[in-house]
Symmetry: C2
Subunit: 316 residues, 2 copies
């Protein structure tokens, strides 16, 4: 398959694996890139020295292109970016923050920069900052979310109309039907997170993988709207947040409830009571633990089947 995004990265399939905290280490990123997609190491849960180790291991594991996701709101964002540059990374996906500060320096070093956005205004800002593409992330996506709560179905066509750079669709895409739908909306690739949580190579705790496999259609919920919206699996902790929000908890109360290290305790350590587990609504479509290569192959086959099915509707 060939789009502007596959050309941009020199990859075989328009499938990018989301750089998820506590899930997307070097094993997952390398496996995805080896399988023809674009793997991303998620630096959001790493210190600089840990990131360096992951990049080195990934370079050992594959000669295919891979990248790093850096949340720009982190205090040590610059250190993470510099570390990645030192280790030879040229593909950067930036998220959660202003793309203006770091895009230009990365472009000066001939890097490819993609920014994650959740609204038209943010996409225009990323384009003006010089980004090569944007990831448009719908409200169904796991983890941190935009305040406008725009769904993938509504967001992608608006972004395609608003900016001339390629749009990568994220949020709600777990199989080949979702990939085909995203391409129909005008996207030129997809960024897939949740489906890769249960990849064999993911570093998610086994309990996290099990929770994703068990998630039903209403298995996730958007919480902490008053702080920064985040989509979580409906675990005991998430239910406590929902109760607090329903009784009108203040921002301070919510901040205390959130506390610290919930992400690590959940996704990495598997603490169902106190941890926080970030996953997208399409967890309901995830039914097995499989190697990243099988996940991608099925997605591509499913996409071809979906396109052929739709084309047959229109032949008659």
């Amino acid at each position: 398959m060939r789009t502007r995004v596959t050309e941009m990265f020199g990859i075989r399939y328009p499938v990018i694996q989301g750089g998820m905290v506590w899930v997307a280490g070097w094993r997952l990123a390398a496996a995805v890139s080896e399988a023809g997609g674009l793997g991303l190491i998620g630096s959001g849960s790493m210190k600089a020295d840990v990131l360096r180790e992951h990049i080195r291991n990934a370079h050992q594991a594959t000669r295919m292109p891979f990248g790093v996701n850096v949340p720009l709101l982190r205090e040590d964002a610059e250190e993470l970016l510099l570390t990645a540059l030192e280790e030879g990374i040229t593909i950067f996906f930036t998220s959660a923050g202003n793309p203006e500060k770091f895009t230009k320096p990365l472009l000066d070093k001939h890097c490819t920069v993609v920014h994650v956005v959740s609204s038209v205004r943010q996409a225009i800002k990323a384009y003006m900052a010089g980004c090569h593409a944007v990831v448009g992330e719908g409200v169904e996506a796991g983890g941190h979310n935009g305040p406008a709560e725009i769904s993938t179905m509504c967001l992608i066509p608006q972004l395609v109309d608003a900016v001339p750079i390629p749009v990568i669709a994220a949020g709600g895409i777990a199989d080949g039907r979702g990939l085909a739908a995203a391409l129909a909306l005008g996207a030129e690739a997809v960024q897939v997170g949740t489906r890769f949580i249960t990849a064999v190579e993911s570093s998610a705790h086994d309990t996290f993988k099990r929770l994703v496999l068990e998630a039903a259609d209403d298995g996730t919920v958007l919480t902490f709207r008053a702080l920064a919206p985040v989509r979580l699996l409906r675990t005991p902790f998430a239910r406590r947040v929902i109760e607090a929000e329903q009784r009108g908890a203040t921002v301070d109360e919510l901040r205390r409830l959130l506390g610290r290290k919930r992400e690590m305790r959940g996704m990495s350590e598997g603490d169902v009571e106190e941890g926080q587990f970030e996953a997208g609504q399409c967890a309901a479509l995830v039914k097995d633990i499989a190697p990243a290569s099988a996940i991608i192959e099925r997605m591509i086959t499913g996409c071809h089947n979906a396109i052929m099915r739709v084309a047959r509707f229109t032949d008659s």
Copy 2:
């Protein structure tokens, strides 16, 4: 185009016009059916005698098939259904209520019955009740919404996997790209509401049409989660609701705030301060007032173009 849904209704295109309150009268339904889609009269804002008048006028205006949408939670739902039957209606779209009570009697009269659902459980219930198809409505849809807030992108593939009857996708579909995406997800038709608010033949107040044309990507908001979730345009009334919810208003307070006749005051009378305007998130994709026939023609052309574009990605 041919799918199980176009065959079921004997229509040319897999486009069904949502039976929206205060918007979908006989003029809109007849125009859509004349243009090759399936028009629906929205009985949710009508008394039985008004519905009878609309059906008679629609029968005068077109010999093509059209149907009626009936919200089953209305106290006079049975009277509306009986009136429609008396006037020769054989296509029923039921929503907002339990499909078990009325589906069987309608089937006994050889009607086609489609129920609107927002979760897998509801779809299975509709299938078990004997419905011929389901409309799967994502959280981006305007007006009343399911409590689980599942997006169209996530909901449709799950419904397709869960029930053997055809699935019609609703929520977020305003152009040909959305139609193509819905078909790729496994839907066999779409139900389109918001795009038809600004149809020439819609009975929406001119102010309502203008508000839809002006809506940006964040132009709608899901309100009244504690009562029954409803997606509204961000008008002064909607903002008062948001404020009340953010300060933790009780269910009773919200009920008082909702009051009565907000829908009529907004959508039919154009009262921006006190009225309620129901529209989907894809209002941001609606850019003009056009005849229903032009809306459908563009949607079909756009769908073909999207399919061809995607097919080209995969040829290389």
